[in-house]
């Protein structure tokens, strides 16, 4: 059995940032990630980020991933296991890992679950046909591996991910026939929507996909209009010929490993659905097991980074090996997080975190 001070499950922005604080504190850390490279979702993000300098604004996602990986790479206190999937987590802080056709066991004094999120799915007829992908999958294929998923596609969902990935599809030479949105308003930022419209991509509101058409793969989609109560309006059916459908209807936190150790969960729609409850130091209801990033609430990569730094710092204190600049850095990152969550776009997250706090008070 391998023994470590801290095991971090997930090497996305939050896991990497947590690791950087922990190794600086002199702790022995292991990151386990099932992907082909570290960086989590960032490695496929070609767009430039918003935010301030601290969160690498104006830098492209995949370049931020490089910066974060370089921060921790080749450090004597950090061991990284890649293409390794954590299958089981136990209350005595043991994790079982599938790695190169073998099962490994790791025991750690503390565990940080930074497993990110999975994409939500949508119910419609034939939604299981090949050629129907999550928006993130399409992004992974084209931006990380340079392979086209389809020639002509429709995007379901007009949130920021739907809009940004539509633009990236165009950049890869794929025709986006339409963006379909069930609500009466476009979900994402106006700048992203305008960019698409300028390039001739129609964005239809009050519409949804009713059915995918095809036998061994998707060949067309049936689209219908919706009234204000989201009921189908008869006689509005329209067939769009495509060879790919992209679904972008939100992300759901990956809390499953935390469920295995009986961490208390709560349903908080503003944070993406079911999440493990954490206290103000990001510890779950299981002593010594922490979580950060999308796995405890869907936000953006910038917040995931700030949360990761903070969780790394909190864990250094929990293990009585405080980071040498603990007080200063905690203040700095807490301020950045508050700033990121300020303003009208942060109101959902703020409400979710308030609910989290109340639920946590109830279970303690």
């Amino acid at each position: 059995m391998i023994e470590k001070d801290v095991l971090i499950i997930g090497g996305g922005p939050s896991g990497l940032c947590a690791a950087s604080m922990l190794i600086e504190s002199g702790l022995k850390v292991m990151i386990v990630d099932r992907g082909l490279s570290l960086g989590g979702q960032l490695v496929k993000q070609t767009h430039k980020f918003f935010g301030s300098k601290e969160q690498y604004a104006k830098t492209r996602g995949f370049d931020i991933a490089k910066i974060l990986i370089d921060q921790v790479k080749d450090h004597g206190n950090l061991e990284v296991l890649q293409e390794a999937t954590v299958l089981g987590l136990y209350k005595d802080k043991v994790a079982t890992i599938s790695y190169q056709n073998e099962y490994l066991k790791i025991k750690a004094k503390t565990i940080i679950v930074a497993t990110g999120a999975s994409e939500k799915f949508l119910a419609f007829e034939n939604n299981d046909l090949p050629g129907i992908y999550g928006a993130g999958a399409v992004q992974t294929l084209m931006n990380q591996f340079g392979v086209k998923p389809a020639d002509e596609i429709i995007m379901i969902g007009s949130g920021n991910i739907g809009l940004i990935v539509s633009y990236q599809l165009l950049q890869a030479g794929i025709k986006v026939k339409a963006v379909i949105e069930a609500s009466s308003k476009i979900g994402g930022y106006k700048v992203h929507a305008s960019k698409l419209r300028r390039l001739g991509v129609p964005i239809y509101t009050n519409k949804t996909i009713k059915k995918a058409i095809g036998t061994t793969r998707v060949e067309a989609a049936e689209i219908v209009s919706l009234d204000e109560k989201f009921n189908e309006i008869e006689g509005t059916s329209e067939i769009i010929k495509i060879d790919g459908i992209c679904i972008s209807v939100g992300l759901a936190p990956s809390y499953q490993l935390l469920d295995m150790v009986d961490a208390k969960l709560g349903y908080i729609p503003e944070l993406g659905g079911t999440v493990a409850l954490v206290d103000e130091k990001h510890m779950t209801t299981v002593d010594g097991i922490f979580s950060c990033g999308d796995s405890i609430g869907i936000e953006e990569a910038s917040s995931a980074m700030m949360e990761g730094y903070l969780t790394g710092l909190y864990v250094s204190k929990y293990l009585n090996q405080d980071h040498s600049k603990y007080v200063e850095l905690v203040r700095k990152y807490e301020e950045s997080l508050a700033l990121l969550r300020g303003g009208p776009f942060g109101s959902k997250t703020r409400k979710g975190l308030k609910d989290m706090k109340e639920m946590m008070a109830d279970v303690r």
Partner: protein, 101 residues
């Protein structure tokens, strides 16, 4: 199909990797996952659902959903979207729950 020109990214031609898909020799690239190599070859169906035998492609590409599972070198239920392509891999469509030998 590979992306040839891109305004931001550059995808240089990489070393070829020969592997077999359904018994036939095919070609992928260094750096591919099994799934990305197959999509490039125009493969749509990775597996069939267990009960109704409906075709399954891949959905998430990050190891979350298991719809990309295939039989690789005789081992079933390999998530091909997070498995690196290696020379001479034997990749087969999976039709059932899988049998471990």
């Amino acid at each position: 199909m590979r992306i040839k020109t891109h305004p931001i990214l550059s995808f240089e031609q990489k070393e070829e990797i020969v592997f077999t898909f359904e018994g036939k020799e095919v070609i992928g690239q260094k750096g591919d996952t099994i799934a990305s190599a197959l999509v490039n070859l125009g493969v749509d169906v990775f597996s069939y659902s267990i009960k109704l035998k409906r075709p399954r492609g891949f959905y998430c590409a990050i190891g979350n959903c298991a719809s990309c599972k295939m039989i690789v070198n005789g081992k079933p239920n390999v998530k091909t979207c997070i498995t690196k392509l290696e020379p001479h891999m034997d990749v087969k469509i999976q039709h059932d729950k899988g049998v471990y030998k």
